[in-house]
């Protein structure tokens, strides 16, 4: 049975408050033993593949965005059978409430949540503020391996269409709203990778024409929690110019940072149609004959012919 959603004033303002839990909610749920019967499964997902091993929230299992969720060969996410095996091995059933948290304002946790959503896992939530907030509040960490009771997870095919965009989808979408969540330097084309991050090989620097630049981190407060509904509206409805009901695509460099923005648009502001373009700049920046815009301006639509 799903566990009752958290209710508090901040979350209540969001379109889907049941998608977030607070650190206090989680501490209470763990205290009450929600994990023991498998109704709640806590998952840590970090950028650093070893961070979990240095200490994690008691009972949390680890899912690595790269080694667990990506297929090595196809440049795609894992298939249904692999996901079912992975979930089952972590003690996740189809009706488990999965709470995901991680480092860097939940950037990778949001990415894992997005992949769970591709497989249609119904009840998957983010811990607002993630790993850093839990630690900042002096809450318990452990290096003890959790006791996992392997569960049986059904083989469910991914449903990519509603929340995932491919390059051709983006080409067909041009003229409708796009949000570029990369750093300003990546947006203008000054650089093709994140500041202080490895060069990941894009041939051209710039952005998809007409995309608004709202770096992902602006949706997060200093403590890593999501900003309030009002602040998010100022950002995406105000600054980016989205209108309620818009069909939106978000992208970054490989689709991880844009998962954080996808979550904010989809669940906190309630846009029904939001897709994450995971090919993002590493694909678009290298693709032959697709248009780009350089500089700080959004740029116009390419003319046909």
């Amino acid at each position: 049975m799903p566990i009752a959603a958290e209710t508090n004033e901040k979350f209540a303002a969001y379109a889907h408050p049941d998608r977030l839990v607070s650190t206090q909610w989680l501490a209470d749920a763990l205290e009450a033993g929600a994990e023991r019967d498998g109704s709640l499964v806590l998952v840590e997902s970090d950028e650093d593949v070893l961070l979990y091993e240095t200490g994690h929230i008691p009972g949390a299992v680890k899912i690595d965005w790269h080694t667990d969720l990506n297929d090595e060969v196809t440049r795609d996410y894992v298939d249904a059978a692999t996901f079912a095996r992975l979930a089952g091995s972590k003690g996740i059933s189809r009706d488990s409430t999965v709470v995901i948290y991680g480092d860097k304002s939940n950037w990778w946790a949001a990415y894992a949540l997005w992949v769970f959503t591709l497989f249609g896992h119904e009840d998957v939530r983010l811990l607002d503020g993630g790993r850093d907030k839990w630690i900042a509040e002096g809450r318990e960490l452990t290096t003890a391996a959790p006791t996992v009771n392997a569960a049986s997870y059904p083989v469910v095919e991914r449903s990519d269409t509603p929340i995932r965009a491919f390059k051709d989808d983006v080409l067909a979408h041009l003229g409708q709203p796009l949000i570029d969540v990369r750093s300003p330097e990546e947006y203008t084309g000054q650089r093709t990778h994140m500041p202080a991050y490895p060069q990941e090989g894009a041939m051209r620097g710039g952005h998809i024409p007409t995309a608004a630049s709202i770096p992902w981190g602006r949706a997060a407060a200093a403590d890593g929690t999501y900003r309030s509904r009002e602040e998010l509206e100022n950002l995406y409805l105000g600054e980016a110019g989205l209108k309620p009901g818009d069909d939106v695509i978000a992208y970054c460099r490989i689709g991880e940072r844009s998962s954080h923005t996808w979550f904010a648009l989809k669940y906190l502001l309630g846009f029904d149609s939001v897709r994450n373009y995971d090919g993002s700049w590493t694909e678009w920046g290298n693709a032959v004959r697709v248009p780009i815009a350089k500089g700080p301006e959004r740029g116009g639509l390419p003319t046909a012919g």
């Binding site: 070893l50 091993e53 790269h66 202080a196």
Partner: protein, 148 residues
């Protein structure tokens, strides 16, 4: 493909230790190295401008090298700084510190560039993350060459 025969003894031993383990235990050994990375001496920790950032690493990593008189001529000392929240990066730094610190410049410069591949971590931590380690070794060698 490089073999451990081409490596200085301390580094060869570390590579052998990694290769003797199964994949999950290799990660735990890397974690051990992250814990073993020595802190910077005060004269450097008080002067971050003396360290150089390796921008190819996912997490901020700073390093510098110094030449020191040894019994049999000059040796190279290595210094690293990486945050606790970046255990993978710290682990790589720990491997290179234990394997190369205190060796003559020529020995360090002779370490093959593909040495990180020998640790057998590429699948467990992904090629993307391995790139940071290769970059770290490359940066050390460039700085050693410049110091000589």
């Amino acid at each position: 493909m490089t073999t451990t025969a081409a490596l200085p003894p301390a580094l060869a031993e570390i590579v052998d230790d990694f290769q003797a383990l199964e994949e999950p235990d290799r990660l735990l050994l890397l974690l051990e190295f992250s814990r073993g990375l020595p802190a910077l001496p005060e004269r450097l920790s008080d002067h971050p401008e003396l360290l150089e950032q390796v921008v190819e690493c996912q997490t901020p990593l700073f390093l510098t090298v110094e030449t020191e008189k040894g019994d049999d001529g000059d040796v190279i000392r290595l210094f690293f700084k990486a945050p606790q929240e970046a255990p993978t990066t710290r682990g790589f730094a720990g491997v290179l510190h234990e394997g190369l610190d205190g060796l003559p410049a020529a020995t360090i410069l002779a370490v093959p560039d593909d040495m990180p591949d020998l640790l057998g971590l590429t699948r467990a931590i992904t090629p993307l993350r391995m790139r940071g380690m290769s970059a770290m070794l490359g940066r050390i060698k460039r700085k050693v060459a410049a110091a000589g």
